[in-house]
Amino acid sequence: AWAAGPVGPNDVKFEDATVKASLTGQPGDAAAGRKAFADKKLGNCLACHKNSEMSEQLFHGEVGTPLDGVADRWKPEELRAIVVNSKQVFGPDTVMPGFYTLEVGTHVAKNFQGQTILTAQQVEDIVAYLGTLKE
């Protein structure tokens, strides 16, 4: 078959709190993922997570779990599920945003309506980067 585009946010398949297949059919790029992780307009993951591997960045938040050694705790398909839609893994009350889902809050600002925070490729890149965080 033709290589289709990336799987859309409404078509991502969760199985037991995992997303098995790459959203793009391609492996992610950990170096690009590292950038998207820190970028305030993209992942902005440091707003909530401490990450010792990024000690060159000044301020790390404390709202989420420190991500040191996160790849020892979660398999790639679990990390993908967490980044795509953390509520599928941690339950509806988690504060962590879903980065590739349209299940969002009310009154989304016009310029963000119908859009996910990250693209499928950016999710894969970040998942690849998280996979390098071993203790």
Binding site: V63, D68, V95, G105, T106, H107
Partner: protein, 270 residues
């Protein structure tokens, strides 16, 4: 790990005494039905430098806005040829503790009024002057001046008047409603994570007792509805208009959440 950042994540154990004379209530037992046991002023979450600046009225840059507010108070404006002082006299007496009990039910308008709305009413009806546009520099200065007449007074609003209770309920709903692409509610940050850092910002309980506050980042006074709108924008949601029913309901509810904290206006925040 349990590094320095974990220690910094607590509100400080410190007292706010303005000019070494006037002690503020910065922690107090929460009112019945409150999610916390204790309500805490945002002052307790700021850096030592920021705290010191608020404690010393000569260092507090916002005292200039209090002075400007006093000037406006005494200045005639509008077709009726009156100033605020023409009717209210010395604000140190007529406005003493008034700001600590707003928002207040306004029967004529059929909704809660904050100081901004009351001032605009007086300008329109009593002075025949134009109401201030939201966040006009004079509006912020005048409201800062009026709130400052309650410095130290515990905040407390009367929910038994008119329909205040239903506005409180509406405000409570909004406080827990997740908004925007980031899908966060006020409670996600100021209830579930108060005391923690979100990037470089130390999250407080989001209390309103210091407003209008001086923000070092902006080097300017920030009104309460401007702050609300900023927090909502940060969830990537549409921002309700200043003084809209949504933001007035939030103001009623969030003011109640800070019941018993001293008015600190003008507070200093980063």
């Amino acid at each position: 790990g349990f590094g320095a950042s974990d220690l910094r994540a607590e509100p400080v154990d410190d007292k706010l005494i303005i000019d070494g004379e006037k002690e503020m209530i910065t922690r107090t037992k929460a009112p019945e039905g409150h999610p916390f046991d204790e309500v805490l002023s945002g002052w307790l979450f700021r850096t030592p430098e920021t705290r010191a600046m608020e404690a010393d009225s000569f260092q507090n840059p916002a005292m200039l806005y209090v002075e400007r507010g006093a000037e406006i108070w005494n200045t005639v404006d509008g077709a009726a040829g009156k100033s605020c002082a023409s009717c209210h006299g010395d604000a140190a007496e007529s406005m003493k503790n008034v700001g600590a009990h707003y928002p207040k039910w306004n029967a004529a308008a059929g909704k809660p009024y904050n100081i901004e709305l009351q001032v605009n009413d007086c300008r329109a009806k009593n002075m025949q002057a134009e109401p201030y546009k939201f966040d006009h520099a004079d509006q912020k200065a005048l409201v800062t001046f009026i709130k400052h007449q309650s410095l130290g007074t515990p905040m407390g609003i009367d929910l038994s008047q008119g329909e205040m209770k239903s506005w409180w309920e509406k405000g409570k709903d909004l406080y827990y409603t997740r908004t925007g692409q980031l899908n966060l509610a006020c409670a996600s940050c100021h209830e579930a994570n108060a005391g923690k850092y979100i990037r470089a910002d130390h999250l407080s309980q989001g209390n309103v007792n210091g407003f209008p506050t001086y923000r070092l980042k902006q080097a300017n006074m920030v009104s309460l509805h401007n702050r609300f709108r900023g927090c909502i924008r940060d969830t990537r949601a549409e921002q309700p208009k200043a003084f809209s029913d949504e933001l007035m309901a939030l103001e009623v509810y969030v003011t109640w959440r800070g019941t018993g904290l001293s008015i600190e206006t003008p507070a200093v925040r980063q």
